[in-house]
């Protein structure tokens, strides 16, 4: 059981990295990966929201959705939107400094498809509570890792002599492609 949980965590983090292997959460990946500092903060905020969402999605899946499966999409998106709202209010109350640092990134998490994707994949795979928690932690850590790696490369890329026409998103996408190739090397690691 322990082994199993560890594999789920590792697999979600590097082997099936949410961003580089499954293309989830690309908007923040492209949007906030220009500086390492903001990338790290965004990653941490995501770990928080992903974990809470995973718990809520698990609870929903095992209660209401047993009787009304067609409400899955609607109930998940409502839960995610309200979770983000509650997190935002809680952080604002508890730590105004952190709230100012996160700024616009907090509400943006609602439309991060990694979170919605996590809720869907986790129920599709039929994970139990501990497994779901491990999956969420792994996915969030993988997202933060990809974001920070990407930001590191892009900071260097700003200083490099890139052809004018290739600057900006095109170069960033090719960098992401090369990072993704690197992550494919982990594919032999697990099952």
């Amino acid at each position: 059981m322990n082994q199993n949980v560890f594999w789920i965590l590792l697999s979600a983090m590097i082997i099936n990295n949410f961003t580089l292997m499954m293309f989830l959460g690309l908007c923040p990946f492209m949007g906030v990966s220009s500086r390492v500092g903001t990338a790290l903060r965004m990653g941490l905020a995501n770990i928080f929201v992903l974990t809470i969402t995973a718990i809520c999605a698990w609870a929903l899946h095992n209660s209401v959705l047993q009787y009304a499966p067609y409400l899955r999409l609607i109930s998940f998106i409502v839960v995610i939107a309200s979770m983000v709202q509650i997190t935002e209010m809680a952080i604002k109350k508890l730590s105004p400094t952190l709230f100012r640092q996160l700024g616009i990134f907090l509400p943006l998490i609602t439309t991060n498809c990694a979170i919605f994707g996590l809720a869907l994949f986790q129920t599709n795979k039929g994970y139990g509570f501990t497994q779901a928690l491990a999956y969420a932690l792994g996915a969030a850590a993988g997202f933060a890792l990809a974001l920070v790696l990407m930001a590191g490369v892009r900071e260097k890329l700003d200083l490099a002599d890139v052809p004018d026409i290739f600057k900006g998103t095109a170069a960033a996408l090719v960098v992401a492609g090369i990072l993704s190739m690197g992550f494919m090397g982990f594919a032999g690691l697990g099952r």
């Binding site: 998106i77 996408l173 090719v174 993704s180």
Partner: protein, 217 residues
């Protein structure tokens, strides 16, 4: 907001403000399911349906939606149409539905659709909103088919399942693997930028002649 003609509303999304290639919205599906033309088409059509349906509904309900909860309302409307699309695809083409998997459900969080509701459908009459949705949907479909086409031709040597190059073609397997999606979109954007620059240069040859060292760079 400035007035636009119906024709401009329709054409805007197709090319000049193409959601994927110019505005870089809705990238997740554009990269994840474009491993073959067939999948790309199915995804494009499903997104088209959801966008059109929710634009018309949002536009017709705009008087009744309170401003404070408008985003949640839009998301709920979108989620309803996605549920319809999801269940119909499952019933009509189960093979493709299985291949696309959770990405059909992920249309809910496609920022392109929410963006059109917030920027356009919530402020305009129903007819215009529908035209805008049709244009944006076609633009998305074009981008998806371009991505899917290039990736399938290079990565598999086929187009819609028909073999193009004969048995001696060595497929570029990387193109249908995840890195290929990033690389293909990167090069597609590069090609577009190159094309735009050529066009701009052809339109203004005298400006180019004045600064020859810049054109050489």
């Amino acid at each position: 907001m400035k007035q636009t003609t119906p024709h401009a509303d329709l054409m805007r999304g197709i090319w000049r403000e193409n959601p994927v290639l110019i505005q870089l919205l809705g990238l997740c599906p554009a990269l994840a399911v474009t491993t073959s033309v067939e999948n790309a088409l199915a995804m494009g059509i499903a997104t088209f349906f959801v966008l059109l349906g929710s634009s018309v509904l949002v536009s017709s309900l705009k008087r009744f939606i309170p401003a404070e909860v408008r985003i949640s309302t839009y998301i709920l409307i979108i989620a309803t149409f996605v549920t319809v699309a999801d269940l119909s695809l499952e019933a009509l083409v189960p093979a493709i539905h299985k291949e696309l998997g959770a990405f059909i459900s992920l249309i809910v969080v496609n920022c392109m659709i929410l963006g059109r509701q917030e920027a356009f459908a919530s402020k305009r009459p129903v007819g215009r909103a529908a035209l805008d949705a049709v244009g944006t949907g076609i633009g998305f479909l074009i981008a998806m088919v371009m991505m899917g086409g290039f990736r399938e031709i290079l990565g598999n040597g086929t187009f819609l399942g028909f073999s193009l190059f004969g048995p001696n073609f060595e497929p570029w397997v990387v193109m249908i693997l995840p890195p290929g999606g990033f690389l293909m979109l990167g090069f597609l954007l590069l090609g577009l930028a190159w094309f735009e620059r050529r066009k701009a240069r052809a339109a203004k040859p005298e400006a180019d002649a004045a600064t020859p060292e810049r054109s050489a760079a």
